[in-house]
Amino acid sequence: MKTTFKSLLTGAMAAAMMTGASTATAGEFDGVTVNILTRPGPVIAGRLVDRGKEFTEMTGAEIRVNEVPFAEIFQKLLTDWATGTNSIDVGVFASGWAVELVDGGLVENLDPYIAKDDKINFDDIAPYFREFNQKIGGSTYLITVDGDFQMLYYRRDILEKIGMEPPATWDDYMKVAEAMHGMDMNGDGEADYGSCIFKKRNAQSYFAIGSIAAGFSQTQGTGEGLWFDPETMKPKINNAAWAEAFRVYKDTGKFAPADELNQDIGDTRALVQAGRCGLVIDWGDIGPLSIDEAGAAIKDKMGAVIMPGSPMVLDADSNTLVQCDATRCPHATNGVNHAPYAAFGGWAGAINQKSDQKVKDAAYAFLSYVNQAEQSNVDVTMGWTGYNPYRNSQLNDTTKWIEAGFSPEFADNYLGAIKDSLNHPNMASDVRIPGAQQYTGVVLDRELARFLAGEITAEQALANIEEGWEEITEDFDRESQAQMYKLSLGITN
C-alpha cells in the first residue's frame, strides 16, 4: 500500500513537472541517475557521454553510459528488461530491434512526452525516420540519434580521369568498377580496387544484399514490403530478383581485394580512407570520414549518389526480370527503378517501461536534448560521432557542414544524394518484426556466405532461405508476424 501510494505520488509530481520538461531547469533532476546501454568506443557512445555531461550541468541528472560489444547489446538489453533486472533505463540501439521489445511490452510509449515537448520540433525530422523508424504500430517509441541507409560512393577524381558517369544501374557499376580496377588511386605505386563491398559472414553483408536486391524487387513504394508479402507472410525471396542480386554481389568481388570475403565494414572503411577503393557501398559515414584526419587520402575526392537500381524488375507471375514501364515502376527515374534501402535504420534511444517515472522523465529529456536540432545539427557533421543526418534542417543548410571541413561542392553533392534517398517514395524498409535477427542475421547471412564461398548456387541458397524463414515465421506465429510486418510498413488495417 505504502509503495503504491509513493509511486502514485512521484508519478503525479513528475506529470506536474513535465509541463516544463523541455525547458530544462537547473537542478530539476537532481539525484536522478539514468543508465544508458549502448555500443562501445567513441562511435555513438562518445557523443552521448559528452552531451550527458552538459545535461548534468543543466538539470542535475547523472547520465551513465554503459558499453557492451555491438553483437551483444540486444541480448543483454532484452534479458535485462525481460527478467526484471532493470539495471538499464535507456537502450540506444538499432531501431529495427525495438519491435521485439515493444512487442514484449518492455518499452515506454513516448507519445505523451512528445506532446508536451516544445523543443524537439518533430516536423523537422525526415519523414522516413519520423513515420517509420521511430514508430511501431502508430506510436512513437524511439528517439533517433543517427539516421542510417546506404548509398553509393565513388572517387570523383578517378571517375573524371576515366571519363565516366557515376553508375545508376548495377550494369554501370560493373563497367565502372572494371575500368577502375587495378589503377593506382592513392599514389603509392600499388594497384588498387574497383569495388569494395564488405562480404564477411556474421557482419554486415546482409545489409549490402538488401541494398542490391531492393532495386530489382521493390517497385511500388515503401508499403509494398521488400521481404515478405504483408498479407500472407510468404517470403518474397526465392525469385529471379534476388537470384540476380546474389550474382551481382558475388560478381563485384572480381574487382575487389582478394580477401574481401573476410572483410567487414571496418576493414572496408579502412581501405576507403587509405584511398584504395573506386566504388563503395556504405552508410552516410563516408562523408564525414573523408574529412577526418585518417581520410587525408580521399579528402574532397569522394562523391555520393543514390544506390544503383535496375531497368529490369521482377515480374512475380512469371518469376522473370522484365523491362520497367510506367505501371510497373511508378517511381523510376529515366527508366531505372531505385529503392534506397534503410539498412539497419539507425541508432535510436528507447526507454525502459519499468524504470521509475522520475528516471523516465530525465531519460526522455536527455534523448530529446540529443535529438534537438541545436545539438544534433553539429553532431552529424563530425565523422567520429557516427551520427548521420536525419533532420531536414541538417540537409538543407550546408553551413554547418562547410564549417566542419566539407568543400561546398562535396557538401551539396553529399547532402543531395542523402535527400534523393531519404525522400524517395520507394524507400525499402528493413525487417522490423520479432525474430528480425534470425531472419536476416542468421539464415539470410549464412546462406549468402555459403553462396559467396561457392558452396551452393544462388537458387539453392534462396530456396534454403525461404524454408528457413517459413520455419521462423511458424515459430513466431504467422498471424501476429504478418500483423507486425504490416505495422512496420505503415499499413494500419
Binding site: 543508465n35 546501454l37 555500443r39 562501445p40 568506443g41 567513441p42 562511435v43 551513465r64 554503459n66 558499453e67 557492451v68 560489444p69 555491438f70 551483444e72 543483454k76 534479458t79 535485462d80 527478467t83 526484471g84 533486472t85 539495471s87 538499464i88 603509392d188 554486415q204 567487414d264 565494414i265 571496418g266 576493414d267 572503411r269 579502412a270 581501405l271 580512407q273 587509405a274 552508410w283 559515414d285 585518417a294 557516427g386
Partner: protein, 349 residues
C-alpha cells in the same frame, strides 16, 4: 661401458649433465626458433600499440623510429582520457581472478586430497534425493517465482526427513572414482549452455553485476581442473610422511596444511597459475554477469572492435599488453616455487 657408435658419440652425452656438441646446437636451435614463434606476436602487439592508424592500415612497418614514428596516442587514450574505465576494469579483473583462484584452489585441493586419501561411500539414493529436491527448488523459484527462503527451508526439511526414512534402508554405495569422475566431468559443459540459467539464478538473488557473482562462477568453473590436477599430484606423493604425522597425533587439517601442501608446491603452483590465467581471461560469463560495476578486462578488449568503424588495433593491442603484465609477474613469482618444489622432489627420494 659398452662400445659407443658414432651416433652415440655425437649425440649422446657420456653423462646427463653434459651435452654433446651436436645435441647442443639442435637443442638451442629448436628452443630459439620456438622463442621467436612465441615472442614475435608479442612484439607485434607492442609495436602496434604505439602505431598511428595510418601506420597500421598502410601496410606493415616493423621497427619503431626506423620505419615509423611511434606515438603514445593509444596509451594516452587508455590511461589519460578513459582512465576511469580502464582502471576500474583492471581492478575488477585483479580482484575477481585472485579471489576466484584462491577459492577454487583451496576448495579443489581439499577435495582432491580427501579423494586421494579417504574412502568415501556415499549412498546413491541420498544423492538422488538431494539432486531431485534441488531441481524442484530451482524450478519453483526460477519458473514459478516462489520466495526462495521459503523453498530452501522446506526443501531442507523434506531432505532430512527422506534421508532418515529412505536412505537408511536402501543403500547403493558410490566409490571415490565416481565422485572424482562426476567432478571432472563438469568441465565438459560449454559455458554457452549454462550462461542463461546462471544469469537467471543470480538475478533471482539480486547479485548480478557484483564481484561475488563472477568470483563464485569462476571458482566453480575451474574447480574440476583443480581437483583433477591436484588428485594426480596427491596420489603421486609418498604416504609415509603423512602416516608418521598421523602417528604423532596430527589432525587431518594439520596434516594437510603442514605435510601435504609443502610437498605439493610444484603442483599447487602450476594449478594456481593455470586457474588464475583462465579466470583472468574469461570472456563470455563475464559479459553476461556484469553490466557496469563489475566489467573485466576481456570485455574491454572486445570493446576495441568498434564495429563499423573498424578495429582500433592500436588501442586493442595496448589493452592486451596491459593484460599480460600481471600474469607474467605471477608466472615469474610462482616460477620460484615450481623450482623449489622440484628441488624438494629431488631430495625426497
Amino acid at each position: 661401458m659398452t662400445e659407443r657408435t658414432l651416433y652415440q658419440r655425437l649425440f649422446e652425452p657420456p653423462r646427463i649433465n653434459q651435452m654433446a656438441i651436436g645435441t647442443k646446437v639442435v637443442v638451442y636451435g629448436l628452443l630459439l626458433i620456438w622463442s621467436a614463434v612465441v615472442l614475435f606476436p608479442i612484439y607485434w602487439l607492442l609495436i602496434t600499440s604505439v602505431k598511428s592508424a595510418a601506420d597500421v592500415n598502410g601496410g606493415p612497418v616493423y621497427i619503431p623510429f626506423v620505419d615509423f614514428t611511434p606515438s603514445l596516442h593509444a596509451w594516452r587514450e587508455l590511461f589519460v582520457v578513459d582512465y576511469e574505465d580502464t582502471l576500474r576494469a583492471y581492478f575488477n579483473s585483479i580482484i575477481i581472478s585472485l579471489a576466484a583462484t584462491l577459492l577454487s584452489t583451496l576448495i579443489g585441493s581439499m577435495a582432491a586430497y580427501a579423494l586421494a586419501r579417504v574412502k568415501y561411500a556415499p549412498n546413491l539414493v541420498t544423492v538422488l534425493i538431494f539432486a531431485i529436491l534441488m531441481i524442484i527448488t530451482f524450478v519453483s523459484i526460477g519458473i514459478y517465482g516462489v520466495d526462495w527462503r521459503l523453498v530452501i527451508a522446506s526443501a531442507l526439511a523434506v531432505f532430512f526427513f527422506l534421508m532418515k526414512a529412505v536412505s537408511s534402508r536402501v543403500k547403493i554405495p558410490l566409490k571415490n572414482g565416481d565422485i572424482l569422475f562426476w567432478m571432472i566431468s563438469q568441465r565438459i559443459l560449454a559455458p554457452i549452455v549454462v550462461v542463461v540459467p546462471i544469469y537467471m539464478m543470480f538475478q533471482t538473488v539480486r547479485m548480478l553485476d557484483t564481484h561475488l557473482a563472477i568470483i563464485l562462477t569462476y571458482a566453480v568453473v575451474n574447480l574440476p581442473i583443480v581437483v583433477w590436477l591436484m588428485y594426480d599430484f596427491f596420489t603421486s606423493i609418498p604416504r609415509d610422511l603423512e602416516e608418521s604425522a598421523q602417528l604423532d597425533g596430527a589432525t587431518m587439517f594439520m596434516t594437510f596444511r603442514e605435510v601435504v601442501l609443502p610437498l605439493s608446491k610444484a603442483g599447487l603452483a602450476a594449478t594456481t597459475l593455470l586457474v588464475m590465467i583462465l579466470s583472468w581471461n574469461e570472456y563470455l560469463l563475464a559479459l553476461f554477469l556484469s553490466t557496469a560495476k563489475a566489467q573485466t578486462m576481456p570485455i574491454l578488449v572486445a570493446a576495441m572492435n568498434a564495429g563499423e568503424r573498424g578495429i582500433l588495433w592500436w588501442s586493442m593491442s595496448a589493452v592486451i599488453v596491459v593484460m599480460i603484465i600481471p600474469v607474467v609477474f605471477m608466472a615469474v613469482v610462482l616460477q620460484r616455487y615450481i623450482s623449489k618444489g622440484i628441488l624438494l622432489g629431488a631430495v625426497k627420494g
